[in-house]
């Protein structure tokens, strides 16, 4: 239950209504009694090989067999030539840093992580990848720094994803 949820309970108990006074402005607010938990589910059937790959330590891109267009994130359908015949190619992992940031103010569902560095790197294969860069001191980050893309286990949840480490 969120903080607001506790406030709702308390207000109803005391005043019979979930009415509160806004902290700064002292204006009256009605706090909704309904809390909506949102957790989405989306289909992966067309790019299932990507997730199978993660389990084997591979990060796949796709390439259109007809026009040669490369895709990362991988996709099954080519918007250029409207074909859906793709080669699945594992990235070798060698890349060069194009830009980065360190996220300090985090979204609510990321509040439990330490500050994290998000980077975009140009991969040898020609695609660009956005992922976390694991680095002990962000001041060591240099433009065009060489990085390696690998699969990683994200703690504390323990799911497999991918990320960069400096070379």
């Amino acid at each position: 239950m969120s903080d607001l949820g506790e406030i709702v309970k308390k207000s109803i108990k005391e005043k019979g209504l979930p009415l509160i006074e806004e902290a700064k402005t002292k204006l009256p607010l009605y706090v909704s009694v309904r809390e909506l938990p949102l957790r989405f589910q989306f289909g992966t059937a067309k790019i299932q090989k990507f997730f199978e790959g993660l389990k084997e330590g591979k990060v796949y891109m796709t390439q259109c067999k007809k026009c040669g267009e490369k895709f990362f994130p991988p996709q099954a359908d080519c918007p250029k030539c409207r074909e859906s015949d793709m080669d699945w190619i594992p990235l070798r992992g060698e890349g060069e840093l194009l830009t980065c940031t360190m996220i300090i103010v985090k979204p609510s569902t990321y509040a439990h992580y330490d500050n994290y560095v998000v980077a975009i790197a140009q991969m040898k294969e020609g695609v660009k990848v956005l992922a976390w860069l694991k680095i002990d001191d962000p001041r060591k980050i240099k433009p065009k720094m060489k990085v390696r893309l690998t699969t990683v286990e994200r703690e504390p949840e323990g799911f497999i994803t991918y990320g960069f480490v400096p070379i």
Binding site: S2, L4, E22, K24, T25, L27, L29, S32, F40, F42, F72, P73, L98, T99, C100, T101, M102, I103, I104, V105, K106, P107, S108, T109, Y110, A111, Y113, Y116, V118, I120, Q122, K128, V129, L130, A131, W132, P138, P143, R154, T161
Partner: protein, 407 residues
């Protein structure tokens, strides 16, 4: 060939921006609509269509267009809600413009309204952070909006030697002009030191590089030529709209890779479309425009806009900042109403807010609202609104002019 009719803005309204805990979404909308109707000396019943820009997600009402139609008095005229992320209200104006230009209606109302503070701040940060390519940017990597623009800022620093102090100068300018704007959320002067001492949100962007979360509403009444001429001596014509869409995933853009791209391809594309329609030369754009409102959701975004809009060459935006060329009286005054940065950024009302300021500027009425120092000199009779949704996902550039587009 079928030709679009001339369309003018004949009435503008703008609520006070900020934390608006005092009103519901429909009550907030009414503030802007009432001012716009009064400005045009029209009644709500005369409006033939209501286009409502509202990004939503953080506020309780799922059907804001319906609630606002009812509360503002345009019922039972047709209505719809439009979404283009932070460019939502420019998209609403584009729809309303086309309704009038095509002859479908003669009078349309483009409303922008957003009630962000109906959700707690961390939830707003989460929802805005999800405005990218959800699985590949948010689900696994927790991107935030300041984070996306921080990637732009780092890229620019690495290419052109941009310093954090340069970005701070942009915040200082926009806060300075917001002190004069009675509708602005922040009305306090700041200094480069204040910005530099504010805490990091997403390195290299600090708290004072970022626009605030805002509740607010704006309303623009659009009319065809014969009605416009009856209503006002100074119709402000919409002389060109350009719209373009960028990739969902930031990593698919070329700008980090190529030296010639440090900005948003979509913004360049939208600008070129709008300029073509309005007869503006992209390579010399600043000469044609008296005043501009650009999408400074972060300080870096304003710098990128200078270059994307052709106000200067790639990498030379820095020079405009350092020479203070975007203050009033400089090469081209930019965001002299405070910008998103200090006036506030109610997602679905921001483009409308730009056009509110620019309409008043072209009518030479802005000085009455905000003081003479904030009234631009009107030489060409042209103003520009640059409104970006997401991180270049949607780009809308709208040119307003005192000269009628089609003779």
């Amino acid at each position: 060939m079928f030709r679009l009719r001339n369309v003018a803005i004949v009435g503008v309204g703008h609520s006070k921006f900020g934390n608006r805990f005092d009103v519901r979404i429909d009550e907030l909308a009414r503030e802007a609509v009432s001012e716009a109707l009064k400005d045009a000396n029209l009644s709500a019943k005369e409006m033939e269509f209501l286009v409502v820009g509202c990004a939503g997600g953080w506020s309780a009402e799922s059907l804001p267009a319906v609630l606002c139609s009812e509360y503002c008095g345009t019922l039972p005229k047709g209505s719809m809600r439009v979404e283009a992320a932070c460019a939502t209200s420019s998209a609403a104006v584009a729809v309303a413009y086309n309704f009038v230009a095509s002859g479908y209606v003669d009078l349309a109302l483009a409303l922008g309204v957003e009630k962000m503070y109906e959700s707690p701040t961390p939830v707003q940060i989460e929802l805005i952070g999800r405005a990218g390519n959800y699985f590949w940017e948010f689900e696994n990597f927790g991107m935030t909006f300041p984070g996306y623009y921080a990637l732009h800022a780092t890229g620019y620093m690495w290419k052109y030697g941009l310093k954090e102090e340069d970005l701070a100068e942009i915040a200082v300018k926009n806060h300075y002009y917001a002190t004069m704007n009675p509708k602005a959320q922040f009305r306090k002067k700041i200094t480069v030191d204040t910005v530099m001492q504010s805490r990091y949100i997403a390195w290299p962007l600090k708290l004072l590089d970022c626009c605030p979360l805002t509740d607010g509403s704006t309303a623009l009444i659009l009319a065809n030529e014969s009605i416009a001429k009856k209503i006002t001596d100074t119709p402000v014509w919409i002389s060109g709209i350009g719209a373009s869409t960028g990739t969902g995933n930031l990593s698919k853009r070329d700008m980090f890779l190529k030296l010639e791209y440090s900005g948003l391809e979509s913004a360049v594309d939208a600008a070129k479309q709008a300029y073509k329609r309005a007869g503006i030369d992209y390579n010399n754009a600043a000469k044609y425009i008296d005043v501009a409102c650009v999408h400074d959701c972060f300080t870096i975004a304003e710098l990128m806009a200078y270059e994307d809009l052709g106000f200067c060459k790639r990498g030379e935006g820095l020079k405009l900042v350092r020479e203070k060329q975007t203050y009033n009286g400089g090469l081209i005054p930019v965001n002299i109403d405070g910008g998103l940065k200090a006036k506030g950024h109610p997602i679905g009302a921001t483009g409308g807010s730009m056009m509110y300021s620019l309409t008043k500027q072209l009518r030479q009425e802005y000085g009455k609202l905000a003081g003479r120092e904030a009234q631009a000199t009107i030489r060409n009779g042209r103003a520009l609104a640059h409104n970006i949704g997401g991180t270049g996902h949607y780009a809308y550039v709208t040119i307003l002019s005192l000269e009628k587009p089609h003779k």
